[in-house]
Subunit: 465 residues, 4 copies
């Protein structure tokens, strides 16, 4: 009789601090044992010459969420997005519930739970976007929601539909501190973007490349500094999300050096793309439009150095998948859509880990431990999912990616599963790709395809900090 | 027949770069000649063993201006304030015209001209506080006003009655750039002050010392960083006024190092007072309430180091004189006035130069050249008054302070002329005091008293940059 | 029949990234299995409510090594020093082989191996102090020694007997790069110390407190900057050892931010002592004399902040135990020994982990993961002992400290085992103390006493990097 | 009867702080009067539409001084070098007396006085290069020499013939402090240069371009940091000369920000040349070999930013003129001279001011005041020549350059007067050139030619600080 439901045998098991060769014995969806020459498993997975990594946690993804500015409709729902995730080595996603101004937060939460249930193929938590922090919301709805495991709040300093005043930010951060919740901040200066955009449009400058002018580096830097200051005043940690500029990274470093608990997240679009993409002929550049947009090469290099130096704790995808050829997608106003009306967002849930592994670990910029920390462990700890998620350890969920470090893949649409009609990384060659993904001990990805079951994912309650 | 209207003879003449011993010959209110053994003057001023300095330009003073928050009435009008100025070695003041929201800027300008005319005893220019930068104001009124010599605009990031949105700031800065005007910024984060204040008051913390908590250093630092960023985006220089915190000074230094044209001003209240003053028994602390308030001793020391290192270009008084025992003065709500309702502002027009000379030059922190630059030359250049004002050079107005570097004075109310009922510097001993002040060649201060003529001051048109 | 030689049951197992509750099964001196409810062990160790930590690696200790300057004789040999180590939760030590100028390195190595063999109670590696990098040494002796597992070289920028010229430093670093070895640097400016010392002595300033003047912070900072530069030129990583000053830590941070591979080590004497100790009455101050000496309180606070911010990778003891009342100890020239002739060094092999646990983890400055990294994992990785040493993972040596996080101990001589007649930490209260230490699976410390076997420790060959 | 010996009429007179239009009346070689419409002068100089500037002080020039490394003989003696100087708008030079190890400093001083007397056409002071700071030198010779007006000492951290140990540096700096002298430091790390050079030569890399590798930026940075530290320990100001790298400039900035009195000098070769010059075909690159050599373009840009930000106080030429086609010049070992044997030094005494005026003032990087400060005033103050030299003020020597701001000149050998066979700036176009140079009131340069008298220059005693 098999001792384990499954054994992953002979692989090189990596955590955020260690790399050891051993077997992983799984029972009841959890890691039951780590050892050499473990007894037999009902399922035997040969991981020799492979890495055995904690499944990725993509902690910043937009799923089944229309664009707040253009109303564009996403290409993926909770089924297809999570399928794409597991095909990229992920085992957990944390998408967003979005409150709109005037809306009940509880209703928004219920709505997103309905969207996810029965569809998600891996476990998921939710961040709550707080767009209207009224007394009712902060005093009644949110305490109950935090109690129920929705401990992560996201706030915006930009977008008319979402942005908070500094006063509201302080209110939310004070709530976060009081309730043991956690705050993420989208840091861009709304007025500057608006002002620059109007002047560009007035001069007929509408092409995609002007996105980079309207979101010039000081725009993100200012908001980063402001967010840091408000967090300092409220005396609570924050995470600044999708940091795109060397300027903002400098602010993070400055804050961290002062001993402030300010965390940073960046994304593959900033580490692997540059503004050159936006300058491509015609509307091609629209494919890489996101907010903030990728900067220049020196900026990209500075972000890598910041990553190496420990300024960032999380690399997420900020997956927001809108089709290019879809009238309800990127180009909501047709082929002449001005840069400020192009739907923000790039797909990337499936390419995040391969890109970072290849460009980071294989290129010698970060070691394997840092890769694990950036793609899984740190997010699990930050969002209250640890030690259930984010590591390979006795008692943890058996969320594991068996990773072939030597497999070379040329990224193109046909190797991806996200239902999109383009990938911003088309043609890039990477070394390292997931071979098998296990979610709570079940093989859900193998042989390049999803082999799991629709709706098997469950909601994860996040712990308070 | 005398060759000169007046000759200042045998003094040590100092400019922002030089110190030489020579005579100064004055004709028609201007410096006509510098030389050794000049011919006779109708008036002969013996300056041997004395310094001959450019008269001070106090470029940040509130005269005949009620408090925008409390409505308190100032102790001094254009006569008494400028008398106090000359008794402190100054020969030019630049007070503020203040527009209120909804008000015509032109009307406000006319109003303040009326207040000054016939009263001011020395020349004056005006900064224009832009509180409502409508199309009308930016498109019609201000261009004409700039044309007429009102080239300096001041904007606020705080105070409900005055503060601009970031969008409006960008509009004003773009105007400044377009018209060759100049922008000063009061940099504090309004929402943070409001939020902190409400929480302090809710907990019954109303004493003066809580002013320092409500205006904690990050409050100024954030706004300084934001102002710098908006100026960077608008591509125009700015001056951040009355910098009170080491945190904000650090932002200035950071910006200057990046090559941004960001200037800084600080004031004696931050170099010579500390938050200890606010902690004095009873309401005594109210006397030193201003915004931002003085910080702690380490902060003060850091400001001195920044001054020495060239971070600041101007030391002004930010004179705002409200009596302590006057029901329409500091304590507008009586002896229990909570810290946020105490009228902001300290008097200082007369003590600015003696304090900085004594604490700066005599203590060896700055040299005489820097003293001249900080008190006169830099302001003249920045605000378009140079070379008419701000130096001792052929062709310049004969605005001169004959300064006794060795005179020791114990500051107290009875040696001052500002009509106040307190001075925040009561009891401080300084070394160095003006002996004679000449304004356009006329002796207006001598023997410790004003000896000039009411209303002799004239409006100065400032040049565009 | 027991499945394991020993099982540590029910403890909270911590690594440099993870904390999980599980059993640890040991076979043949190695960790064979991690799991819940492991089968029986021949020895059962109840670790419930205890931490199960990787045994400490004290990677900077002087054992059986006379003072290079005063010739003082140490209080401890390889037996007593390693006994003291295990009583403080350590399972590995890395002492120094010291070449003197003109001496063969091979002979020095052989000599120290003889001193250790048969005495050490835990495993040990050696750093080689290179004082005479002749062609013979760099070309023949050292390559062979590196091949045999002596991969870590230490060089000095101070001490007449040991210091290298910058040219020699470059030669050694080029060797290190070529051979995959590793370099540690004692960074102090020799000439400055000499010059300052001579001037102090000439003025009769001989008391212990003048040690801090002769080793003023710039002395270490300069040498740190120089070491960093030479490593940059030679293009090889270095570790700057026993960093004592905020000034030097600033240089580390600066280098790390530039992307240079510069590592930093600090010690409990800099985190828990200050220069106040040196100012104690009479010769009491001599007890805390080491080089560099502890700085002032602000310096100490800055070192803690640097530790929190990740500037340091290793906290070692720099154990150098010379008795106070021994004529061949600290005061080699008797009760009037001038500060520069007092034997450098403080004991600390046994107190290192309790101090850092109490002051770091219990005080909330670092988390448990960082503690493990600083006391064990990072040193193991840096010096080529990983994964054999430095973590608790399948296949690693079962070098483990079962740690009682709540045990309160008042440090004093009678709780220590280092054979000394004083401890610099006399009277300090700590929370957290080792309960059991296992070395390669054997219990060597328990119930407050050493229970292992003399000479059971073995030499560890270090891997090349 | 003329009132003045000469009057410079109607020019725009600039000092380090002021720009005014006035006449300059000269009597007895000094500025007697500044005024409008001065009385007649025996000589009338029309300066309308011209700038009237303090004559340049080139405070770092090597005249009649063989190369310390190669023994090459300079192209210019005190006559030709000072002629070249006045043709470039200079009125004072400060060359070097060089002691060699073992030599009496007094004898060296006497020797250089003999070289200058009867030849120099403008006034001169001397810096004393201290290569052998024995007790005799520091205790007897130098105090007397300082007393006689040789207050500026230069020390080297590189060159076998000149370099001091850190201990000796401290001795010299302590002397400087004690005697009110001043110290200049050539900051490069000797051992690094030697080590890198040997390895380059061993690999056959001998071309001029390898100079830049042997003197990589960290080489200067390290020595700059060390010099700063030694000055901090000795508690005395220093000037770091001919700063060539952004890395060293960063150290200066760091020190200045800490409040240390560390001054910086850079040179046109670093602001107008780059390492590209060294890469030219054949031995062409040798023409721009100096130590340190020019760096890359980013480095050059960083130096300009540092200049703008006030990091440097002096721009000197470091004139060291060795002919290219002379067997006793640059290529002392013939056309295959390896980079380390090429004589260091570029000519530049005549081009310094035009280059900085054109590239600095005309390009808008610095204003006219900064130009005056960098080329004359600051050096005069630093070296104890002020107010006799370095400004245009009553009582100062009438050392004046009448400058045509609009004259365009293409630099080439035939417009220069330095007796060289090349200029590193061949073909560069500048705007701004001296029209007339007056030295102590005498016109010595006019119409493109020297019109003064050989030997009219006098030795200047420098004041103590």
């Amino acid at each position: 009789m098999p001792e384990f439901d499954a054994v992953i045998r002979g692989g090189v098991v990596a955590t955020a601090s260690d790399t050891v060769t051993c077997d992983v014995g799984i029972v009841g969806g959890k890691v039951a044992m780590l050892g050499e020459a473990l007894g037999p498993g009902a399922e035997e997975i040969d991981a020799r010459a492979k890495l055995v990594l904690p499944g990725g946690i993509d902690s910043h993804v937009h799923i089944d969420q229309p664009s707040p500015e253009t109303g564009a409709l996403p290409a993926t729902d909770f089924f297809s997005a999570t399928v794409s995730a597991v095909c990229g080595g992920n085992t957990t996603v944390i998408p967003f519930v979005r409150q709109l101004k005037g809306q009940s937060m509880r209703q928004a939460v219920d709505d997103y739970h309905r969207r996810a249930e029965g569809k998600a193929v891996i476990d998921y938590a939710f961040h709550l976007i707080v767009a209207d922090p009224t007394e009712q919301v902060l005093g009644q709805e949110l305490p109950a929601l935090v109690h129920d495991g929705h401990t992560s709040l996201k706030i915006y300093l930009t977008y008319d539909a979402l942005k908070l005043t500094d006063y509201q930010v302080l209110d939310v951060l004070a709530f976060v501190r009081r309730e043991g919740a956690f705050a993420m901040v989208h840091a861009e200066n709304a007025d500057s973007i608006k002002w620059l955009t109007e002047r560009l449009l007035a001069r007929g400058k509408t092409e995609p490349k002007y996105k980079g002018v309207a979101h010039a580096p000081p725009v993100e830097r200012e908001a980063a500094h402001r967010a840091i200051t408000l967090a300092e005043i409220a005396d609570t940690p924050i995470l600044i999300v999708h940091v795109a500029t060397a300027d903002a990274a400098e602010q993070l470093r400055w804050a961290q050096r002062r001993g402030l608990k300010v965390f940073g997240e960046t994304c593959p679009q900033y580490l692997f793309l540059t503004g050159d993409e936006l300058e491509k002929e015609g509307m091609e550049g629209a494919k890489c439009i996101c907010a903030p947009p990728p900067g220049d090469r020196a900026n990209q290099e500075a972000l890598w150095r910041a990553l190496e130096a420990g300024v960032f704790q999380v690399v997420s995808s900020d997956h927001a998948a809108f089709r290019f050829d879809d009238p309800k997608g990127k180009l909501i106003e047709g082929p002449k859509t001005p840069f400020n009306r192009i739907t923000n967002g790039v797909p990337g849930i499936e390419t995040r880990m391969p890109l970072l592994f290849s460009g980071g670990v294989q290129e010698g910029r970060i070691d394997l431990q840092r890769f694990v920390a950036l793609t899984a462990t740190n997010a699990a700890k930050m969002y209250g999912l640890y030690p259930r998620k984010g590591t390979i350890a006795v008692g943890a969920d058996a969320d594991i990616a068996v990773w072939d470090p030597d497999r070379e893949v040329r990224i193109s649409l046909d190797v991806l599963h996200d239902g999109m009609d383009y990938t911003p990384y088309e043609g890039m060659r990477v070394r390292g790709w997931p071979e098998i993904t296990l979610a709570r001990g079940e093989v859900v990805y193998k042989g390049g395809e999803f082999v799991g079951r629709r709706g098997r994912g469950a909601f994860l309650r996040c712990d308070r900090s």
